[in-house]
């Protein structure tokens, strides 16, 4: 069978110097946005490497994206079962190692990162209890992480949001600490779509290599296939940020 281009091979006119950077995209059973994340990596100029949840070795990748979807159907709790995948232990170790592997968790990926305790807090059902798909404005609160360096501090970006269990919660102490340490990476602007505490859309670990968020930057990387307003490509910065960092480029 011919590989469908749905898996993404859009012609990319990006800087070839970024080609050498290899970004792993993890697929769990039930992952949905892996092709989209891989496409985003390619559109940003990097090389996407498919990773399988059952792999016991982390291939030679420079960064990892844990994409969105309903891994294991979101059964039990979103991300709860995936967190125990063999590859996750490798990712957890690598993220905590001195090498500080850059890890981005989008939506279900964010939920997996909180279940793995790489990021604090958790996600529960949206306060309105429904699945919600909309174009959402976010403010980039922290542009010093590996995944946000190409944005301006305070920049507002428009990316799709789509989830059922997107309400970010943590105890007050954790929330205060996140604020104090500048670890709230993204906040919802104008409309809080799910009841998240303090409008938090995404957070980072202290080192800035592990970032998780509920909205989907990988769905805002190509004009005509993302949000209708703006160019529809506000999400590309996540991927160029990490690529530039990996190849040692300045911001």
């Amino acid at each position: 069978m011919t590989e469908l281009p749905l898996i993404g091979e859009a012609p990319v006119a990006a800087e070839s110097r970024l080609n050498g950077a290899r970004i792993g995209v993890v697929t769990f059973p039930g992952t949905l946005d892996d092709r989209d994340a891989a496409r985003a990596v390619r559109l940003a100029g990097g090389t996407a490497v498919a990773l399988w949840h059952a792999d016991t070795e982390l291939a030679d990748v420079d960064a990892v994206v844990i994409p969105g979807g309903f891994s294991y159907g979101d059964y039990l709790r979103a991300g709860a079962i995936s967190r125990f995948a063999p590859l996750m232990s490798k990712i957890i170790d690598a993220a905590n190692s001195d090498a500080k592997l850059p890890v981005l968790g989008i939506c279900n990926g964010f939920q997996i990162l909180t279940e793995s305790h790489l990021l604090p807090g958790s996600m529960i059902k949206n306060d309105h209890l429904k699945f919600l798909c909309r174009d959402q404005v976010l403010r980039v609160e922290n542009n010093t992480t590996v995944w946000t360096a190409d944005y301006e501090a305070g920049q507002e970006i428009l990316v799709p949001l789509k989830n059922q269990d997107g309400q970010y919660i943590a105890d007050e102490k954790t929330l205060d600490a996140l604020e104090a340490e500048g670890r709230v990476a993204f906040r919802y602007v104008g409309f809080n779509p799910n009841g998240s505490r303090r409008d938090i859309a995404g957070i980072t670990n202290a080192a800035g290599n592990v970032v998780g968020l509920m909205p989907h930057p990988e769905h805002a990387v190509e004009p005509g296939f993302g949000p209708e307003s703006n160019a529809g490509t506000d999400g590309l910065g996540f991927f160029t940020s990490v690529l530039n960092k990996i190849v040692g480029g300045a911001k």
């Binding site: 469908l4 309903f70 699945f131 769905h219």
Partner: protein, 769 residues
Amino acid sequence: MTTETNKKFNIDTVENAANTPDTELPWAELGLKENEFDEIVKVLGRRPTGAELAMYSVMWSEHCSYKSSKNHLRQFGQKVTEEMKKDMLVGIGENAGVTNLGDGWAVTFKIESHNSPSFVEPYQGAATGIGGIVRDIISMGARPVAVMDPLRFGEIDHPDTARVMHGAVAGIGGYGNSLGLPNIGGEMVFDAVYQGNPLVNALAVGVMRHEDIRLANASGKGNKVVLFGARTGGDGIGGASVLASESFDDTKPSKRPAVQVGDPFAEKVLIECCLELFKGSLVEGIQDLGAAGISCATSELASNGDGGMQVELTDVLLRDPTLTPGEILMSESQERMMAVVTPENVEAFEAVMDKWAVEYAWLGEVTDTGRLIITWDGEVIVDVDPRTVAHDGPVYDRPYARPSWQDALQADAFTGSVQDAGRPSAPSELAAAVTELVASPNMCDKSWITKQYDRYVGGNTAMAFPDDAGVVRVDEKTGLGVALATDANGRYTYLDPYNGAQLALAEAYRNVATSGAVPMAVSDCLNFGSPEDPDVMWQLAESIRGLSDACMELGVPVTGGNVSLYNQTGTTPIHPSPVVAVLGKLDDVARRTPSGWKEDGQAIYLLGTTAAELDGSEWAKLRGHLGGLPPKVDLAAERQLGEILINASRDGMVDAAHDLSEGGLAAALVESSLRHGVGARIALEELLERDGVDLFTALFSESQARAIVSVPRSEEVRFKDMCTARGFAHLRIGVVDAASGSLEINGVETMSLDALREAHEGTLPKYFG
């Protein structure tokens, strides 16, 4: 295990059946008619075994055998020109039709109903409806790429409507979103006729390379037959508890679920797993399991193949160990597939199953006996010619006649009726009427529904709700893509089934052309009442005749579909509701035309002419009237309009286009303005003069073959020349006015977009939270 299982049932073997011809069988309880049972006995030359009876009863049901509609459906295959066949790679008869897109690409799509399960348990009923149609698409060898969901519920303020609405929409979202399939469109109609019979139709579309097309047939003696996916439970056999007569002891049979619960995660895994099988060319034939489960899969695979099949039923993996052989054959458990695999590929097949942690069981093999033999622990319980099960079911020429009330209904025109009293004419009345129209349940904004659906997943959605058609990219290198729309108007079809069905096609065709795509193929879901009612049967016959004639005239073949009958409460049927889906092709989805205007100063043109056609309209519905004749069908005009819209899109002559359908010009103007919050100034004097209608009629008439477009100044001359050259009526009716924040129509009090938006968007939240 097998010996123990064996003890539980009094296995009715073929041998036993031959020796006990007089055993009473529960054929009536299983839904068979006496003549049908007699036919089975004749075909077999003996009484059927319990297992055979189970198979025939489900396969000869209306749902699986199309016994009432088959004679009429033939027209879809007959009224086809060579031209229409050109791009049809697989036609009616397979799980779904396949259309050639060029560049080695093919597309398959199909629409199906899951109506009555969705009334009983809306969430699961609708969810498993999505699941079922998606498996049809996978079984063709395609990767599913999008879904759509035409819905029809009872009146918006009926106490039961919210239950169905919340459940069905959440179920479609819950299942479809979990599969990673963008939802790109659908319909939402509220009408009291659907109160006890909501219509939940589901469409799926998939794409593949030509060489990857798979068919449902079992060929090659010695090839292995495998069942994989979910385990088999008692789903869908709740009504057939009479099969307990197969049971040895007298204790009550264990309970059989009345409804099925879907497992979207299992289906998502099944999709990926099947695609991996296709990629490795590991299956010779494949069939999804839907209605009639293993009965259907084995008999269809065998009868479409070149020989026979032998299957051991105790090897089926069960969720419920108390199931009897007949129940296993009838079970409709979801998320299962059956495939035929060569012995050399068995190992590779198992490796794919193991990778995805999908359970499978090798059940038997393909033979050259021409018989379908099913054994239970080695003893033969089914020995049939598979064709007699799958294809040679009963066919009825049910009596039909034009209903006695049809003439009176058609004579009862809206104009001049009691309900037409006080027709709005003053500027303020007209503004209030437009506002009332766009806030009405059927014309209001549907985003309460669509925001529960993922439109982005896959990264190939170029257009979705609320535009006229959903557009998905197929090839990232060239931008090749497809556009899809589904439509039906039960009110029109009730007034005139022949023309109503044509109008459904015309609207879907128009929606696709409006997006810039070239219409190529049709799939339809015929939702009707009981075929045993001659009135209903007439509606069905007329609709099929009308639809097939129109397909021929528009040059778009029907490639597949589904018939859903008995949609009625007591003796009251629903309105005849043929839901028509049209698929079109865009060489480059970047050229698609959206429905909302954006650029200040662009000229707004109305294409087509307007007559006084208010019968069956949304306005008449608002006033509680249904009678008269639906709008006139003019397929030649539809075709011309389509060509104009397609050329305009290809050559960049229009920036936005929106077809006129329910709610007429008034609805279209409001929708195009609200799309991006950009207003317009409209003057219809010239139109009133040319077409000889009044302002109210110009706004609310539902004359067909019309669209509005917004044309950049630089393109106006070229655009007008094109319309003139084609002799198609076109009129500049206004200009986009970005600054005004309002919709101004001469003779109508100015309407602010804010107020219109509040009216348009407030309705569904008001009723459903």
